[in-house]
């Protein structure tokens, strides 16, 4: 089974510049390498900040476009990982490890969504 892990930092309650420290980046690099070498990590990427985002909505066929940032939502997807795992619990264990890397400065959520296969 595969999981899409959506990384959702709460930017208001996290470091002001929105950037992880070098220490976090190093630890994250190690974790991602470990996930790759375990055959778990299939793909990962970070997303540009929500200021540059744009939303297109269809309300019953009527399209509207809104530019970011989106002040009404507190937690926005900042990146994702696609992981191949044996169980939901294994996906959770990797998500835990990902969160632990961020230490105590960050408020951050990982949403785990199983990918539909076939």
């Amino acid at each position: 089974m595969r999981y899409m892990m959506l990384i959702e930092p709460d930017l208001e309650r996290s470091p002001k510049d929105g950037m992880p420290s070098q220490e976090i980046m190093d630890e994250m690099g190690k974790l991602l390498e470990e996930m790759t070498k375990s055959g778990v990590l299939l793909d990962t990427a970070g997303l540009k900040p929500p200021e540059e985002a744009v939303r297109v909505t269809s309300e019953r066929g009527k399209l509207s476009v809104v530019d970011g940032p989106f002040t009404e939502s507190k937690e926005l997807v900042g990146g994702y990982l696609i992981a191949q795992v044996k169980s939901k619990e294994e996906a959770l264990e990797w998500a835990n490890r990902f969160l632990k890397v961020h230490g105590e400065e960050w408020v951050i959520t990982v949403e785990l969504r199983e990918i539909m296969e076939g």
């Binding site: 044996k86 632990k100 961020h102 408020v107």
Partner: protein, 446 residues
């Protein structure tokens, strides 16, 4: 733990989940950690005790300790390190006990001084050594040629894949005691043959590596095209094999064939969703809806193939069988429609494959490619040359391919006979139905 997790944890404390449910949740968490860490732990411990059976027992003991302690103490911050430390401590205790015993014997023979310091130094060196080396030792030992192929498969899935005996049994449609016995015997065989827990070197390494890759490919194929039973595919096995191939690629980044195998499996797995119809029936490659091919896996396959090719371009080794098969698979993956397939290139790749790994099955596949590139007549000549191959005597794809060629040549009655023969030979129920349909269908149906 983050603030929001803290809050959630407090909420759960307040409502108080039933202890049995909490316990089950911890058990599942432990199982997940075990799945991730078991190979490293067994490998790290085997390095100390030099016996796979003992190593697995000690690792299992650590797992049992976790199952007993974690529900009370909570899952430790670094559960993998906890398990490794616990298992290693037990391993060292065991070695020390044996050493003390040996020392007692030695005292009698006044042979103590030369032995002890060496043992201690070895032990310290062992603990500092690279875990990836240990994993490679485990890989090569589990696939050692003194073991039968089913034993290699079972041991590899169990020790490296972290599968339980029950999971292996279900995957291969045999009973759990059969698998358990196979594993016990395999460990005994390794101990009896005094197989060292080492990586092979030199010429032996190439042969042993081939055996490792073969085991993984076999596991994948058993999942991809189940040789027996009612299901056409068992995707769980494919995923296990793919994961092992990726692990190997990380452990042996300089071996082109390891990347070749990973590439082959990624690309083949990319078609998993397209090769079954709505009723679970097989859909052949050229009839598949390519929109359902998994582009992420294809991309990963291309990347692994490129790594293999660049290693071959700069190294002493020529292209190996897995890399060539991956290159063939990539020809299909690159074609937006079946009609766009570069069959000429596929024929050339099969010719290269026939040179490095000649086999009747490769010839049969070459014939299919030739029929697509140059027409059924040339292909039928190749296939007819295979009629007396003992290796293909009971291989259902020989009559199936021959039936295809005959039908394209308008020899309908002969084609029908071939499909019926193929249907009799296959042990897979879904495939049999497909072949029976083809035997009964009229010539203008595809």
């Amino acid at each position: 733990m983050t603030a929001s997790q803290d809050a959630r944890a407090r909420r759960e404390d307040a409502t108080g989940p039933p202890p049995a449910a909490a316990r089950r949740a911890t058990d599942r968490a432990v199982a997940a950690v075990w799945r991730i860490e078991s190979a490293r732990i067994i490998a790290g411990v085997a390095r100390i005790v030099r016996d796979l059976g003992v190593a697995e027992e000690l690792a299992q003991d650590a797992l049992v300790a976790a199952l007993e302690q974690w529900p009370e103490s909570g899952v430790p911050d670094n559960p993998g390190a906890w398990l490794m430390a616990t298992a290693r401590r037990r391993a060292i205790d065991l070695v020390r006990r044996k050493e003390r015993y040996a020392r007692k014997l030695a005292e009698i023979g006044h042979d103590l001084e030369s032995r002890r310091p060496e043992g201690e130094a070895q032990l310290a060196a062992v603990l500092d050594d690279d875990i990836e080396d240990d994993l490679l030792r485990l890989v090569f030992t589990a696939c050692h040629p003194v073991l039968s192929t089913p034993a290699r498969v079972a041991l590899t899935l169990r020790l490296l894949g972290g599968l339980t005996t029950d999971e292996i049994a279900r995957a291969f449609l045999v009973t759990e005691p059969t698998v358990a016995q196979r594993i016990v015997r395999a460990k005994r065989t390794l101990a009896k043959a005094e197989v060292p827990f080492e990586q092979p070197q030199g010429q032996e390494r190439a042969e042993r590596l081939a055996s490792v890759l073969e085991v993984i490919y076999l596991v994948f194929n058993e999942g991809y095209s189940a040789t027996a039973g009612d299901d056409w595919m068992r995707p769980g096995l494919c995923e296990d094999a793919l994961r092992l191939a990726r692990v190997l690629a990380g452990l042996m980044p300089k071996e082109p064939e390891v990347h070749g195998l990973a590439a082959l499996l990624e690309i083949q797995a990319s078609r998993a969703g397209a090769r079954t119809g709505p009723d679970g029936e097989p859909v052949l490659l050229l009839a598949q809806n390519r929109g359902r091919w998994d582009q992420l896996l294809i991309r990963r396959g291309f990347a692994a193939l490129a790594r293999a090719q660049s290693l071959v371009a700069t190294g002493a080794q020529g292209p190996g069988p897995y890399m060539l098969q991956a290159a063939i698979a990539s020809c299909h993956a690159r074609a937006p429609r079946a009609a766009d397939t570069d069959w000429g290139q596929i024929v050339r790749l099969y010719e290269a494959l026939a040179r490095v790994a000649p086999s009747p099955v490769v010839e049969l596949n070459r014939a299919v490619a030739v029929s697509m590139a140059y027409g059924p007549e040339d292909a039928l000549r190749i296939v007819d040359g295979l009629a007396d191959e003992p290796a293909l005597k009971d291989y259902h794809l020989l009559p199936s391919v021959r039936g295809d060629l005959l039908r394209r040549l308008g020899r309908t009655e002969e084609a029908r006979e071939e499909f019926a023969r193929a249907a009799d030979l296959t042990r897979n129920a879904q495939e049999r139905t497909l072949l029976q349909t083809r035997a009964e269908s009229s010539p203008d149906e595809p």
